[in-house]
């Protein structure tokens, strides 16, 4: 789960990490009144609150805002409403949002902070080494490119769970950044606090890009991104409350509430009902070979609740892109008959009658096939993925 910058900063403040003065605003007039409280003179930074990186490299889509990026520096207080007006309610496209972009519904206003130096710093779960890794880079832009072409430009320090941030860690970072030892205490405190936040919050990624050094030699988090471990959210009810439902597609959200995963693509005509990414990918790969694109897939994982299965199936069945459904279920923990029951219940409720071919394998396969065949629908069953896909394509052609 991801949160917004302003939420991340609020959390970091609790861990004694210095952040610029700032406030959130939903309207231009609110932006003005918030800004007044932050500074009498300016300058200010206005930051679009969408969950994406590279907002500075982004641009808005409407004609009068094309030259604006997701982060604007505003010199005078009186100009705040003008900029806020252009940002709020417009769509921002960044290298990480895809070309459809994201709607900006709120902006974060901060005092402009003069930093004599900036650098990149993050903690992340290291899937490769099974540890937590601290990443530091002198550069704050195009870091992934740098990591690819010049691995030495990124400092990596690997932490084990019981690691205590030590003097030698900080000295290594200072040396890497070419900073004098006078920063030693402040940097140690920063790293300690960030690491404590990372562990306490069950984060999977905590990124400060950039960290700024103020004229008083203090470290300040000029931006903040936190991703949380979805599997550990049960330990953090306060974090769950920060979830911004508007960041997520409504149907995806509905599926998530049932504990399932729903994913849509912008092309294609076939809906997949699967358990796990594996069967979805295997089906997608084969359909592509036949020249057909997947429009969406619903992953019901190891679902055992019949009602939840039926509820989620309706999401996919009512997707207007879908012209045919391929079911690829290989039941182990999941019992195939529960899926078949769900399909019948959902079809009856919404009057679904498109081509549908089910390939069941594994636990209670026989029962599932019988359930589908003994109904008034023209649903087909098959014993292999290839055959099921072939049957579906044939039925879709006949239906046209």
């Amino acid at each position: 789960m991801n949160i917004h910058e302003y939420q991340a900063k609020k959390l970091l403040k609790k861990y004694k990490i210095k952040i610029p003065n700032g406030a959130i605003a939903y309207t231009p007039s609110e932006a003005l009144s918030r800004a007044q409280k932050i500074s009498k003179t300016g300058p200010f930074v206005l930051k679009a609150q969408i969950q994406s990186g590279a907002r500075k490299a982004g641009h808005f889509t409407s004609d009068n805002t094309k030259n604006l990026s997701g982060i604007c520096i505003v010199q005078k207080l009186n100009d705040i409403p003008l900029f806020a007006e252009k940002m709020i309610g417009n769509t921002l496209v960044t290298p990480q949002t895809g070309k459809e972009g994201k709607l900006v519904s709120k902006i974060y206003i901060e005092e402009f902070c003069v930093a004599k130096r900036t650098f990149y710093l993050s903690f992340v779960i290291n899937r490769i080494k099974a540890c937590i890794t601290l990443l530091v880079s002198r550069a704050t832009d195009n870091i992934v490119e740098l990591a690819k072409n010049d691995p030495k430009s990124i400092l990596r320090i690997h932490f084990h769970l019981n690691h205590r941030v030590q003097k030698k860690d900080t000295l290594q970072i200072l040396k890497f950044l070419n900073l004098s030892e006078k920063y030693h205490n402040n940097l140690t405190t920063l790293i300690q606090n960030l690491y404590r936040a990372f562990l306490n919050l069950d984060a999977t990624m905590l990124e400060i890009n950039p960290v700024g050094i103020t004229k008083n030699d203090e470290f300040i988090a000029l931006d903040a991104k936190i991703s949380f471990d979805n599997n550990a959210l049960f330990r953090h009810p306060d974090v769950v409350l920060m979830h911004d439902d508007y960041e997520v597609d409504e149907n995806v959200l509905r599926a998530n509430r049932c504990g399932f995963k729903y994913h849509t693509f912008n092309t294609g005509s076939i809906g997949l009902i699967v358990n796990g990414d594996g069967p979805a990918l295997a089906a997608r790969d084969y359909l592509e070979k036949l020249g057909y694109q997947t429009a969406c897939y619903l992953d019901i994982k190891g679902g055992v609740d019949e009602d939840k299965i039926a509820q989620s199936l309706k999401i996919l069945m009512t997707n207007p892109m879908v012209e045919g459904i391929l079911i690829n279920i290989l039941g182990g923990f999941l019992r195939c008959n529960l899926v078949a029951d769900g399909i019948i219940a959902a079809s009856k409720e919404i009057g679904f009658n498109m081509p549908l071919v089910a390939r069941f394998e594994g636990t209670n396969k026989q029962m599932a096939q019988e359930i589908l065949q003994e109904n008034n629908f023209d649903f087909l069953t098959s014993d292999s993925l290839q055959d099921a896909a072939d049957k579906l394509i044939k039925a879709m052609k006949e239906n046209n």
Partner: protein, 287 residues
């Protein structure tokens, strides 16, 4: 022969009497597994499905000497269950749970390493050696004893690979799901090593996905391995999902696609297939 588990493996089931686990325990036993004991914290019955039940792993270990443990406990309890098993010297632990917190996994990882044990999972169907032992939730009746070793990150594609090896008339020596969580308990390499020295195994099927670098390491291992067997590889994954921020792409030195991983295996001399349904043909060609 087989790897990790066979008919002599003495299996303990932790969390034997739960609603879902009783369904699967019954199947584990019917697949021939030598289940020696079960643990249930509020064990009212002294035995369940013919298996003696104890209230602690310690007591079960003292009385029945298991050497492997299958965890049917919920995600939040996996860490403590693994530690209990390790404390009794159990060296093979399988967890099928979905949704174990990542920091718990890191802690488990450290302790497993220290104890020299093997942890399979979480988020996996487990291990099966057909007709001998099933430590997991594999569907009943799909496995056939045979000569192909299977290691898969995806649970369901492991089932698919089982069906394909049957279709080729070859069957399986042992099948292992290593799980598709952020961090897998065991990576491909130690298992490839075991399969390459197993007499019964004639070839190995490896099913990978995008994310992490288990595939890159396995390709490198295969290229360098002296004692090796034919390897067939299928890798697939969604690529368009973007993480917020840069950190995870920095770790892998840029984005790595399924195609990139496939190329590494091709370079290492493995057979790479583009559709899982092509597996039976590839197997027939090789053997």
């Amino acid at each position: 022969m087989s790897i990790l588990a066979d008919k002599n493996t003495r299996v303990l089931i932790q969390g034997i009497t739960g609603l879902q686990s009783s369904f699967h325990t019954r199947r584990v036993i019917s697949m021939g597994t030598n289940v020696v004991a079960g643990v249930s914290p509020n064990a009212r019955d002294k035995s369940y499905l013919g298996v003696p039940v104890f209230s602690s792993v310690h007591e079960a270990a003292q009385k029945t000497h298991p050497n492997a443990s299958l965890l049917f406990v919920p995600a939040g309890s996996v860490k403590s269950a693994v530690f209990e098993a390790l404390n009794e010297g159990i060296k093979l632990i399988v967890s099928i749970a979905y949704g174990v917190p990542i920091l718990d996994i890191l802690e488990i990882h450290q302790k497993i390493k220290k104890c020299g044990a093997v942890f399979i999972g979480p988020n996996t169907p487990g291990i099966i050696t057909p007709n001998e032992a099933c430590l997991g939730v594999f569907p009943e009746g799909i496995c056939q004893q045979g000569s192909i070793g299977i290691i898969s990150r995806s649970s369901t594609l492991a089932y698919e690979a089982i069906l394909e090896t049957n279709r080729a008339g070859l069957g399986q020596s042992t099948v292992i799901g290593i799980g598709d969580d952020m961090i897998a308990g065991t990576s491909f390499n130690p298992l490839l090593d075991l399969f390459f020295s197993d007499e019964q195994t004639k070839a190995v099927v490896l099913i990978g996905t995008t994310g992490a670098t288990y595939e890159q390491e396995a390709a490198e291992f295969y290229q360098k391995a002296k004692n090796k067997k034919p390897l067939i590889v299928y890798i697939t994954g969604f690529e368009e999902e973007n993480d917020m921020g840069y950190a995870s792409d920095i770790l892998t030195h840029g984005k790595v696609t399924a195609q990139d991983k496939k190329q590494l295996f091709k370079n290492a001399g493995a057979t790479v297939i583009d559709n899982i349904d092509d597996l039976h043909l590839a197997l027939k060609n090789l053997i």
